[in-house]
């Protein structure tokens, strides 16, 4: 089985068990080199794009001998650039199979060529491979793989192939590595005494709490903390060096110099799990402020002053070279307090909420919003630190979202599974008799409702702006969102966080929809 065949199997299946066995089959027979690259792509990593999409599109369009507008129409309908391009290229008669590492070599060679050489090389590449392999190949070139495989599933497959534990594999796949035969043999090496100073641990993740909290049992068996909306991160202090990782396994080194400075003052080597938050006057800043620092390569003095940050630590994973993850939450928490104290430089320890009953906690949870928190975290005191999202150990108990009734005014085709339907919507609220767009929402409707809205959109299109259609205002939906703040980057003057559709309000006409001032009032009542 080559990688393209694996990709097809993964793409076609919607059963986890089948996907797992496809992965195991593939890793079992692939060369170490190929296997390493497969892990690289399947865990969401990507090659630096060898050619800009613009060049790829114009190349494919010319090869297909179709006009630009027809490419655009087709792409808008298909919803996936790589797929559109692979389906319109002239048919090839070749059935040659290349190994994944060969593919990678060929794709990498494209980089740095001038455009005409690139075109020639692309033609070579796509003439020489089996037509059915084109789509995965194109996916590797354009970037995002998205084949419905989680990192956890790749970990499980490697664990099965190597006979090692999921935890060991997960840990080894963390951090920075170059895909190579060496890397692969390191991952499946039965000798588990490996050491890379920068390597983080897999993050423990919480499950959302739905239903009655009392079903969790005794409230005293849990540690309760505030749930913050910041950047989840792992701070590693080993042998005098600090490494800061985000949950997305991105190195954050250099972006939060004040945290690194405080880390240098720590009296122990340790690994801390926590949340980076914008922090001013002893309370957290809205996420949008912190966002100004995300993505900046260099942080200027002004920004450092305007959005100072804190590292709110809530767990201790390693101390003086010893892995603490198998110890209980209670033990780790006690040790964390011992190591960090309550406050040290930019470090804060996550406040423990003392309550003896669920009803007490429920009341406190109601105050989360005024404390700028998203709700509560509940962690079993006797639990070890888990790898990934294991049910029953960590729960996030969020406060009820804000909701508002809004009018659908624009629609755009979705991507992937929803490519043929108009499923990406823009919603508006009334402002002095005019509908002002304020949020985009994609999720929350059933497939049947989506089909229904799609039909409405097609039948009630007023204007087309490229892929976007303006729609006769008629449909009212209830939207939920987590947070709201004033914004001068938005036409409506407000920005909402994580908007999604709660339900289709068939019972409401557009005149019943809410007004922009209703939304703004939510800010002031926070």
């Amino acid at each position: 089985m080559n990688f393209a065949e694996l990709y097809r199997q993964l793409d076609e299946s919607n059963k986890t068990g089948e996907k797992l066995s496809s992965l195991v089959d593939y890793f079992g027979q692939a060369s170490d080199d190929d296997a390493a690259w497969a892990v690289f792509f399947l865990t969401g990593r990507r090659l630096p794009q060898p050619a800009p999409n613009k060049i790829l599109r114009s190349w494919a369009t010319e090869e297909a001998k179709i006009p630009d507008w027809l490419f655009e129409e087709t792409y808008a309908w298909v919803g996936d650039l790589a797929e559109t391009m692979s389906c319109i290229l002239p048919t090839s008669t070749s059935s040659e199979k290349f190994s994944l590492s060969d593919w990678v070599k060929r794709i990498r060679r494209l980089r740095g060529m001038d455009e005409s050489d690139q075109r020639a090389a692309l033609n070579d590449l796509f003439d020489q491979i089996d037509e059915r392999d084109r789509f995965p190949m194109m996916k590797l070139i354009t970037g995002a793989m998205r084949v419905g495989v989680s990192q956890g599933l790749v970990v499980r497959a490697l664990a099965k192939v190597s006979g090692l534990s999921n935890e060991t594999i997960a840990h080894r796949l963390m951090g920075d590595w170059e895909p190579s035969a060496d890397a692969y043999s390191r991952w499946i090496d039965p000798d588990t005494a490996d050491a890379d100073l920068s390597q983080p641990y897999p993050f423990a993740l919480a499950n959302p709490l739905e239903g009655d909290v009392a079903a969790l049992g005794d409230a005293n068996a849990f540690l309760a903390e505030w749930k913050w909306d910041g950047i989840r991160s792992q701070l590693i202090r080993r042998s005098g060096t600090t490494y800061l990782w985000s949950r997305g396994e991105e190195r954050l080194d250099g972006k939060y110099p004040e945290i690194e400075a405080s880390a240098a003052d720590l009296s122990h080597d340790c690994v801390l799990d926590g949340e980076i938050l914008g922090w001013k006057e002893d309370q957290p800043l809205p996420f949008a402020d912190l966002q100004r620092r995300i993505g900046r390569k260099t942080i200027g003095k002004k920004l450092l002053l305007e959005v100072p940050v804190r590292f709110v630590a809530f767990d201790l994973l390693e101390l003086d070279g010893v892995d603490w993850r198998s110890r209980s939450q209670q033990e780790r928490r006690a040790k964390l307090e011992e190591v960090l104290g309550t406050e040290q430089g930019t470090f804060r320890i996550s406040e423990q909420i003392h309550a003896t009953s669920w009803s007490q906690l429920a009341l406190l949870r109601e105050t989360a919003r005024e404390r700028k928190a998203e709700g509560l975290m509940l962690k079993r005191l006797d639990s070890p630190y888990q790898v990934g999202r294991v049910r029953g150990h960590w729960w996030k108990w969020k406060i009820e979202p804000y909701t508002i009734d809004a009018v659908l005014i624009y629609a755009q085709r979705g991507h992937g599974r929803r490519a043929a339907l108009y499923t990406d919507f823009t919603f508006a609220l009334w402002d002095n008799g005019v509908l002002v767009p304020f949020a985009k929402a994609y999720s929350g409707l059933t497939d049947q409702e989506l089909t229904e809205v799609d039909r409405f959109v097609r039948a009630n299109t007023q204007e087309k702006f490229g892929p976007v259609r303006s729609v006769t205002p008629h449909i009212v939906m209830e939207l939920a969102f987590e947070n709201i703040q004033l914004s001068n980057r938005h036409k409506s003057g407000v920005a909402v966080r994580f908007p999604r559709i709660v339900r289709w309000r068939h019972d409401k006409t557009i005149n019943d929809a809410d007004r922009l001032e209703d939304l703004k009032r939510m800010i002031s009542t926070r």
Binding site: E12, K15, W69, E73, D80, C87, H415, G416, R417, A420
Partner: protein, 364 residues
């Protein structure tokens, strides 16, 4: 991106030959409609799918081998005059004849000739080989009315041989894994085409009730199809895992499937060529097989008819019409092409998604 806007009126073309009326495509010279969507006096039908053959007209003409299909769908009592392919007859001042469309058994293109000018309404058609019906015949004309269900350049059908190879491989894999193979396709046309191509030596083939009916009609017309049975004919302890079950798409997710135990689901349709539509069907496998023309065959067919005017109906009509208009088919020859708003659905992307009743088998 430039946006194509639909033109409300097709290019007028000898209005006594063919024009669009509220009830459908109308030939004034012969006073008849082709595939009308409202009851009329005289209707000539291209084929038996429900978006083309509608109930209530006083008099019908259709190709002889489609007669039993039409009577089973529109009623035994309809006034239907069967015609052979190539037979010419006169209605008013129009000469009419039927020619094979290759879409399904008895599917026809309607050739209409008035005062030396010829229009051909092709209905739904395909150019791929299909052992269950007479292959498409190119009919030279001045005005060609074409469908555009799959009128985008991403649609290029793989050869039926390679598709059947994949189906057979899938069937055998399922047998090895102890799973029943559930293949879903439209009841009329596609199902029989599949049946004709299946290798019955692999295992038994079971038909859903909605597939069994039309299949019997095909057999009565002398189309040779492998032996099949229906669920009610199976013994209680029947081993379904070696079996391929041919069912309508609406069977997916219904209790009817329980008897089969563990099932691998598949769908045979042109839409399976695209990942998004395939994934939305939530089937384990998608086989690309369509009874409509793909993009290259559509362009080829328009060219071969040497029509100077093309009306493009159901599907991507705006896109196809604009492409034909702007790019013609040979340099220097301009083609007058326009979209035509009809109520035909072809394999409308929705009809497949929505079809929830076993009766809904809109043309595939």
């Amino acid at each position: 991106m430039q946006v194509t806007t639909p033109e409300m009126e097709p290019t007028p073309f000898r209005r006594d030959l063919l024009r669009l009326e509220p009830a459908g495509l109308y030939c004034p010279a012969g006073d008849f409609f082709v595939d009308p969507w409202r009851p009329v006096d005289t209707a000539i039908l291209t084929h038996g799918h429900s978006d083309h053959a509608r109930f209530g007209s006083k008099r019908y003409f259709a190709e002889a081998s489609s007669e039993s299909i039409l009577r089973s769908r529109l009623g035994k009592e309809i006034d239907l005059a069967p015609k052979e392919y190539g037979e010419r007859w006169k209605l008013g001042n129009a000469w009419v004849s039927l020619h094979p469309a290759g879409h399904l058994l008895g599917s026809a293109q309607i050739r209409i000739e008035v005062a030396g000018r010829v229009a051909v309404v092709s209905g739904d058609y395909k150019r791929q080989p299909d052992p269950t019906c007479v292959p498409f015949e190119v009919v030279p004309c001045d005005l060609f009315v074409t469908e555009s269900t799959f009128g985008l350049p991403v649609f290029r059908w793989p050869s039926p041989e390679s598709v059947f190879d994949s189906i057979h491989r899938w069937w055998r894999e399922n047998q090895a894994a102890g799973r029943t193979s559930l293949l879903m396709a439209y009841a009329l046309g596609k199902s029989q085409r599949l049946l004709a191509g299946l290798d019955a030596s692999i295992g038994p083939i079971c038909l859903h009730g909605a597939v069994h009916g039309p299949t019997q009609l095909y057999r009565n017309q002398g189309v040779s199809l492998p032996e099949t049975f229906t669920v009610s004919q199976a013994a209680k302890d029947f081993d379904w895992s070696r079996c391929l079950v041919l069912a309508v798409p609406s069977a997916q997710g219904t209790p009817w499937l329980r008897r089969f135990g563990e099932v691998s689901t598949a769908m045979a349709s042109g839409w399976m060529a695209i990942r998004g539509t395939r994934r939305r069907r939530a089937v384990d496998r998608g086989f690309v097989m369509s009874d409509h023309v793909d993009w290259p065959s559509l362009l080829q067919t328009v060219k071969e008819t040497s029509a100077t005017t093309v009306w493009v109906t159901h599907g991507f009509s705006n896109v196809v019409a604009r492409y034909l208009r702007e790019h013609g088919l040979s340099p220097g020859n301009t083609l007058d092409a326009s979209p035509l708003e009809t109520q035909f659905q072809g394999d409308a992307e929705d009809s497949e998604e929505i079809s929830s009743s076993p009766e809904d088998e809109t043309g595939s």
